[in-house]
């Protein structure tokens, strides 16, 4: 997370670190005591996959390590480096993790209208990914930043006009654009799959509105970060969890 702050212990208890072969692969978010939500592009297969919870510092000896029992990548996701549509996946853990102040699930959004994200709604994104524009190193401490939801039409227009060396990046209605117009605050490599959460003022609970998905460069003015729009996948998530619990 570029332009963010260090998180303190227990502040973002739903944050999950996803490791592949012991190396940081991305982030995730705890939904129940045995389900983790993340981005599809973070997962390829289950080999060497592990998750850590209850930590903000990478070397926290109190971190809880858990292993996947199964992974569920959205069936419509077909990553080709340009189209990240349906970038969402679930990890079913082998065992329930012990809940504590440091490990607590985030809420899923309800189907009420108040959970539909609007431009300029502020949410909190967090992760151990790249934390400085000039560096490609991940952060030692979990970082978080508050960023607003960007105007979708403006964001899409910008990306539609962009032709990368590999082609045109695809923006769909299953995505949320977020970030500052002037740049400077953004999620970045290593944050993928991590949470972009919002406070539901009615229940005073945080719910997951987006999953860190992709972006063109990081924290660059004009190019917003792209997040999977979780409200579009509530039925899929609940169906997978119900059938596999």
């Amino acid at each position: 997370v570029i332009g963010g702050e260090d998180a303190q212990k227990n502040e973002i208890p739903w944050q999950v670190m996803i490791l592949k072969g012991g190396r940081l692969k991305g982030g995730g978010v705890l939904l129940r005591d045995d389900w983790v939500l993340t981005a599809a592009h973070v997962l390829q297969d289950m080999s060497g996959l592990a998750v850590k919870l209850g930590l903000v510092k990478r070397s926290d000896p109190d971190a809880v390590v858990a292993f996947p029992k199964d992974i569920f990548i959205h069936p419509s996701y077909h990553h080709d480096g340009l189209n990240f549509d349906h970038d969402i996946a679930l990890i079913k853990l082998k065992q329930k993790v012990p809940l504590s102040a440091a490990i607590m699930p985030v809420c899923l959004p309800g189907k009420e209208e108040r959970f539909i994200l609007q431009t300029n709604d502020y949410g909190t994104v967090s992760g151990w990914g790249v934390w400085h524009k000039t560096s490609n190193r991940g952060s030692y401490n979990l970082k978080y930043a508050e960023i607003p939801v960007a105007d979708f039409a403006e964001c899409k227009a910008k990306y539609d006009a962009l032709v990368t060396p590999n082609g045109r990046l695809v923006v769909t209605d299953n995505m949320v654009c977020a970030g500052l117009e002037q740049g400077g605050v953004d999620s970045c490599q290593g944050d993928s799959g991590g949470p972009y959460v919002f406070l539901d003022k009615q229940s005073r609970s945080w719910y997951i509105g987006g999953i860190v998905s992709w972006g063109y460069t990081c924290a660059e003015a004009g190019y917003y970060g792209m997040y999977t729009k979780v409200t579009n996948y509530i039925d899929w998530i609940e169906d997978i969890m119900l059938k596999n619990s």
Partner: protein, 422 residues
């Protein structure tokens, strides 16, 4: 002599016509029309010696229904017995014409010239034989013949004329009822073979009462030679019954009775009606258990009668250690119930199921007792219900919405400590 005439038309005359016919003549013309046609006969000339009742000379017509008419005289002189210009018809397909002259013809009568045509279809349906119509119910005429059909519920007998009732194989299984001859109290159908079986469970005894009107074709000298009603119970036979006096009550002592009734092809009688009833040894009157009720309430319960026991709300049927969802007793042959009476005991929901990440508190488990589920720290009851369940009258713990599954304790979500909590 006899002459045979056929075909659709033809003619014949008296001997020597148009000259004087000879004396002492007796000639017969047998005319046959094609099937389904009747004959029309008419005269273009007719002049026979007139006499009282045409006893001298005459022309006699015999139709195939054996009707006879005799003519003589002269048409022009308007003698009463002459055919004049009339057309004469046969009722069926044949007609016989006989000319007879006696020993004298002194006034030189010239005889007759007759023509016949087979020109019209016979409507056999309107023809009655011995006062009986061609068909019992419906008659359909067509050229050459006719056929009969029956009203709904009747079958055409093999004689192609009578309509018999469909009255065989009837089985009555109610404890009481009645049975009658077909169409009772109207005339019963002819050529019918009816059989009825009253079949009750073993242990019943069937009684038969004949009611007015009783009218089965009979004969003063012979016992029921035409139509007959018979009753068989076990190996005993009652009857034959006929006439107009209803038989006396029959207490068969059997649980199965067979009634047979046969009618022949004639007669108009109104039949019979039997009211049957049954008796059996009663079972002892049941006593409702405490906190229970018995229905239906009857003064007496006999074979196959049943009663149910229900309990007051919050009480449950039990027989020994067994809980019964339902209880029904049946009175058996010999006046015994098929089982002992159950009791009504207070509903007990028994110890409630535990839940993961939660616990349940309770003191009693009987009807209307309450229990409360609560979740461990960091868990909450799904749907934010209060976790209170009450022992319902069906023996299940149910929450305020009537659900009987225990609550789910799910992790509390989205409530961090620190800066995001503010």
């Amino acid at each position: 002599g006899v002459e045979l005439l056929t075909g659709l038309f033809g003619s014949f005359t008296s001997p020597n016509f148009p000259n004087v016919y000879p004396n002492n003549q007796l000639i017969t013309w047998n005319i046959t029309a094609p099937a389904g046609h009747r004959l029309r006969l008419y005269f273009t000339h007719f002049e026979l010696e007139p006499s009282l009742h045409c006893e001298y000379d005459y022309l006699q017509l015999i139709s195939d229904d054996n009707s006879t008419v005799r003519f003589c005289g002269e048409g022009e002189k308007n003698y009463a017995d002459s055919p004049k210009n009339a057309d004469l018809y046969s009722s069926m397909t044949t007609m016989s014409v006989t000319f007879r002259s006696d020993y004298s013809n002194e006034e030189r009568f010239t005889g007759f010239q007759a023509y016949y045509t087979a020109e019209e279809d016979i409507d056999e349906c309107v023809i009655a034989v011995d006062g009986e119509r061609a068909c019992d119910h419906y008659c359909h005429n067509y050229i050459g013949s006719f056929y009969c059909t029956c009203r709904l519920g009747y079958q055409l007998h093999a004689n192609k004329k009578d309509c018999t009732a469909e009255c065989s194989g009837q089985v009555l299984i109610d404890r009481s009822g009645e049975l009658t001859s077909p169409d009772y109290p109207l005339f019963y159908p002819r050529m019918s073979q009816c059989d009825y079986t009253i079949r009750l469970p073993d242990g019943f005894q069937i009684n038969l009462d004949f009611v007015e009107i009783f009218d089965v074709e009979t004969h003063p000298g012979v016992s029921c030679p035409y139509d007959v009603l018979m009753i068989t119970a076990d190996s005993r036979e009652y009857g034959p019954f006929c006439g107009t006096k209803p038989p006396a009550r029959i207490e068969t002592g059997a649980h199965q009775v067979r009634v047979t009734f046969r009618s022949d092809g004639s007669g108009k009688n109104r039949g019979w009606k039997i009211k049957y009833s049954s008796t059996a040894k009663p079972c002892p009157n049941p006593m409702a258990p405490l906190r229970g009720r018995i229905y239906p309430q009857q003064d007496q319960y006999i074979l196959t009668d049943t009663f149910n026991v229900t309990c007051d709300l919050g009480f449950q049927l039990t027989l020994g250690d067994e809980k019964l969802p339902f209880y029904q007793a049946t009175c058996l042959k010999g006046g015994f119930w098929d089982g002992p009476l159950p009791l009504c005991t207070l509903v007990d929901c028994e110890a409630p199921n535990n839940v993961n990440n939660g616990s349940v508190q309770f003191s009693t488990t009987t009807y209307k007792s309450q229990i409360k589920y609560s979740c461990e720290e960091l868990y909450t009851i799904k749907d934010d219900t209060d976790g209170v369940y009450t022992c319902a009258d069906d023996g299940y713990w149910r929450d305020a919405l009537g659900r009987k599954s225990p609550p789910d304790c799910i992790p509390i979500c989205g409530k961090p400590t620190g800066r995001l909590a503010k």
